[in-house]
Subunit: 216 residues, 2 copies
Amino acid sequence: MTTQTAKSTKDRILDAAEALFAEHGYDGTSLRGVTGQAGVNLAAVHYHFGSKAALFEAVFRRRVEDVNAERLSKLDELEARGPEHPPSLEEVLEAFLGPVLRLSARRDDEGWRRFMQLVGRCNSVSGEHMEPLRQVFQQVAARFFPAFLRAVPHLREKDLYYRLHFLIGSMSTLIADPLRIQIHSEGLCRSDDPDEVLRHLVIYAAEGFRAPTPVR
Amino acid sequence: MTTQTAKSTKDRILDAAEALFAEHGYDGTSLRGVTGQAGVNLAAVHYHFGSKAALFEAVFRRRVEDVNAERLSKLDELEARGPEHPPSLEEVLEAFLGPVLRLSARRDDEGWRRFMQLVGRCNSVSGEHMEPLRQVFQQVAARFFPAFLRAVPHLREKDLYYRLHFLIGSMSTLIADPLRIQIHSEGLCRSDDPDEVLRHLVIYAAEGFRAPTPVR
DNA sequence: GTCTGAGGCAAACGATCGTTTGAATCGTAC
DNA sequence: GTACGATTCAAACGATCGTTTGCCTCAGAC
């Protein structure tokens, strides 16, 4: 029910593939299912993309740059304030998590929610088709690493690696299955309100990051 | 290279299925691959289990009771000390996370590591075959909920639901791909040392749980 | 008009999937 | 030895998979 009903064949395939890959995974999705939902011919996917694997790659290439550019842009803004105004831990967390959580809960664009669901799925699975996606997100995390380190200078690098990994795990499961927290909390937690989820996660992670370094 | 080379056909199928389901997922695993790795005939899986879905269920039924019984047993121990000695937050976290993390890194039993990898994968994916597994782990989390609530009495139920969900996300990604943190940290974090991972996660989560409740 | 190339189409390719069949093989009780 | 239930086996079933083929349509160049 989008305003544009005259999408190109390529985009219709991408939309359908995005939804089905996110819901059923790579192996659980058939090209006949994709082309059936897209309303196009089966051979069109090979004509426009070449193969199923290439289609999968095209699905995530379409959006991955946008979300990570937004995260890095927010980080750049924080660092551009100069060394006399170092960003707070909460600000770095906001830049790291905010774009991801907000895009995964956009009510006006179901495509982004599905894409983020796909990202969360790939982040949790060691599948072979998903390595390039994981690498891109890992590079963003690596860019954030020194900013986090400056915001919590009492941590050793090793401690920060652990805690950043814990944080990524929380973020991944949030976007991989946004409805789950709402179901488990019997509706107390509203997963369709990204700002509330973000507020809770930032407070939780900030105190976690500020925890003392393990002694032993 | 196990000491027992004389395993039954049923167990050989379960071992091979556990490894392949954990690595490639349900749809990415073929029964021919399972029986090939197990060294048994293809029809044996239908003779002993009935179907591929039933085999998948048998794989996780074999171990799921053990790990969750251990977690609940630890919780019972803590609560048996009586209301005058309430368990600390760190103790509840230890009971909740310890058995899972330790089993997922056992050096003497690769089967447990693979099983935990499968659990982590299912915990992150909304696949249809994995609902019973997720429900079992969710019931355990529900049992832990009041213990957590007593350990951090300043939290509203809603806050605890959020933070418990964040914690489960961290735990799931840890066991779904144990090697990832070691790779990303360039070897600084040793994922084959469950006690160290547990120590870091308990400290991180404890401070996160103790964070104040969001104001707005 | 004719030619051209991009794109859409039905149909089929060989491979692999989960599942089923029916006979061969085994140990064991009689 | 014989009968019998339990297990294993090779072979095939129909369905579905990703991929390819060849032909059709059609808008723009000349």
